[in-house]
Amino acid sequence: MNTATTEPEAKVVVKDLHKVFGNKPDVAMQMLRDGKHKDEILKQTGQVVGVLDASFQINKGEIFVIMGLSGSGKSTLIRLLNRLIEPTAGAIIVDGEDVATMSKEKLLNLRRKDMSMVFQSFALLPHRTVVENAAFGLEIAGIDLKERERRAMEVLEQVGLNTFAKHLPAQLSGGMQQRVGLARALTVNPSLMLMDEAFSALDPLRRTEMQDVLIKLQQEQKRTIVFVSHDLDEALRIGNRICIMEGGRVVQVGTSDDILQRPADEYVKAFFTGVDTNKYLTAKDVAQKEQVTIFDHPDEPAAGFSAALERMRMYDRVYAFVLDEQHKVLGIVSVESLMACMNDPNKKLRDALLPGKEAIPSSMPLNEVLRKVVEYPCPLPVVDEHGEYIGAITKTVLLRKLCKEKTA
């Protein structure tokens, strides 16, 4: 098999791309050629250099993630690809044609047929129903009503929203709205999709869910996706290759392994580790709220053993934390300890607590946490300075965190 050695086919080639915001781009470009820094240019001329000398290639069928701090030029770069922002200099070659210099008609045609975009704020049209929104691209391209609604319904079914076709966007949750945003981008059946922080406005659970939807769609039909994100976890999860930007420059492009193992410079390194994390990480930073918690109501006659057991069964957990009404951690129970007390009508939830399990203060440094966690078989609760529950640490979570620190 020699497929592994063949060069990947390019979908987009970006060459020496620049964007200067302001009324004197030529002056700024000349100063850039003279080696002036963009801060200096801003101070002297008031021109903002948004993207600076970007050159890279996006391969066919890959998810290409653009990362960087706020203001590093991610949104500008992705908008240059479909010319929502006019480039100041350079070339953007999509399927062999330069978008930067192509005629208005060609550009319209490209946007209608082969390129689409998903936005951070969803950007649905509020006065249109879900299906009308999904069919928007086809409507603009002049496809007749019946045909475009048929295709929009197909795509809505793919993203699981066909039963909401007649709803208005405002009637849907954020996650569902972004599915509509995704459907709108998919209905035109583009080979290139641009997504600017498409999932950033969603809560973590919805975000992973949408990432899964995207990955699934990718398996059904390979498209080239450019995805802007500021979330490292998201980038590692969905990105085939990652592009790191800093101050308008592209500082590194590579697979996540490439970048983790061979960061181009200190900036990239810092990006993947946070700043000197090991020294500053405490229990609070690794605590996760994934464990089952049970509230103890001492005044009620029923001890609540069955309810507790049922919930632990539901979440597939062996241990659970018992909290009082102020969220203070009382202790840990296990399925066994609950079962043992269950048939004794005089026993309360408190009687099922396992002996000797103490909570970890949130400020405890990680190396000490490690010592505690290996001592006990169960996850340990983390509490804040008032003794209130903020999460739990398991061996797996802790090890994964430490490994990440090591590789970076």
């Binding site: 479909n82 929502l84 209608r112 689409s116 950007a123 049209l125 603009i140």
Partner: protein, 277 residues
């Protein structure tokens, strides 16, 4: 040394010059306005008052429900009881024609101002000028150009009533969410598709608020315009002032207020419904 710039002389000279040299154009504009207004007026007066009232109350019921319909019925009855039917209809005709003209000019201007910063920078100060220049100042030259009657009245009303719809249309278009506009462009909208499918639908609520404001301004100006012989309820207000007739003044004033409330609530309802739906 005190040199006074002869601003006033220049303007007066300009008006004189226009009066002498461009009569044909003014005549044509004048007759278009006159014909529109009198057509609306005749239409309204030819309709039996009970039919007019029934249609009006029907609209009131459709837009706002039976309470408001009852209010309209009572108002229309009071107007006829006070003997102001004809004046009210004349005033309504003046408002309608002035509003139609204001909207046909104002909405495109507002769209233009909403989409181009340069247009906005010229249009805005012009609107300020139109709104703050005391009405009498242009009422007189208008009467000189077009002769006394409803034409100068309608023109003065248009000058005064057009700014709100221009401003609010422009504002509505500028307020459309930036990413929504980007989405329109990203999916290949031409500028006119962007306007019709993205910008205007989102600007609808603001646009209706502008139309409502324009109608209200037109109503207040139409009363003043009776000074140049536009007719309608304004005549009664005016003559009550000159005769110090407090009773007539109150009655005709009340007629204006009732008309204002009815028009306001009805036109307002269109904007609100559009925004919610």
């Amino acid at each position: 040394m005190s040199y006074k710039i002869p601003l006033g002389e220049w303007v007066a000279g300009g008006v004189k010059w226009l009066e002498n040299n461009d009569h044909g154009a003014f005549n044509q504009i004048g007759s278009v306005i006159d014909n529109t207004t009198s057509a609306i007026e005749h239409g309204l007066i030819a309709t039996p008052y009970w039919l007019f009232a029934a249609i009006f109350i029907g609209i009131a019921y459709w837009r706002r429900g039976w309470q408001f319909a009852t209010f309209c019925a009572a108002s229309l009855w009071l107007i006829s009881n006070m003997g102001f039917v004809e004046q009210t209809l004349v005033t309504l005709a003046l408002i309608t024609s002035a509003t139609l003209i204001s909207l046909t000019l104002g909405i495109p201007l507002g769209i233009w101002a909403g989409r181009s910063d340069r247009a906005e920078s010229v249009i805005r100060p012009t609107l300020d000028f139109m709104q703050t220049m005391p009405a009498f100042v242009y009422l007189i030259p208008a009467a000189m150009f077009f002769g006394l009657g409803r034409v100068p009245g309608v023109i003065a009303t248009v000058i005064f009533a057009m700014p709100p719809v221009v401003r609010l249309t422009s504002l509505g278009i500028r307020q459309v969410n930036k990413e929504q506009v980007e989405a329109g462009i990203a999916f290949g909208c031409t500028p006119s598709q962007l306007l019709l499918k993205v910008q205007l639908p989102s600007a609808m609520a603001a646009l209706f608020a502008g139309i409502n404001q324009t109608i209200m301004m037109a109503l207040s100006m139409v009363i003043i315009a009776s000074m140049v012989g536009a007719g309608g309820l304004g005549n009664d207000v005016l003559s009550s002032i000159s005769r110090l007739d407090i009773g007539l003044g109150f009655e005709s004033g009340l007629g204006v207020v009732l008309l204002a409330i009815m028009l306001d609530r009805i036109t307002e309802s269109f904007g609100v419904k559009k925004a919610v739906r």
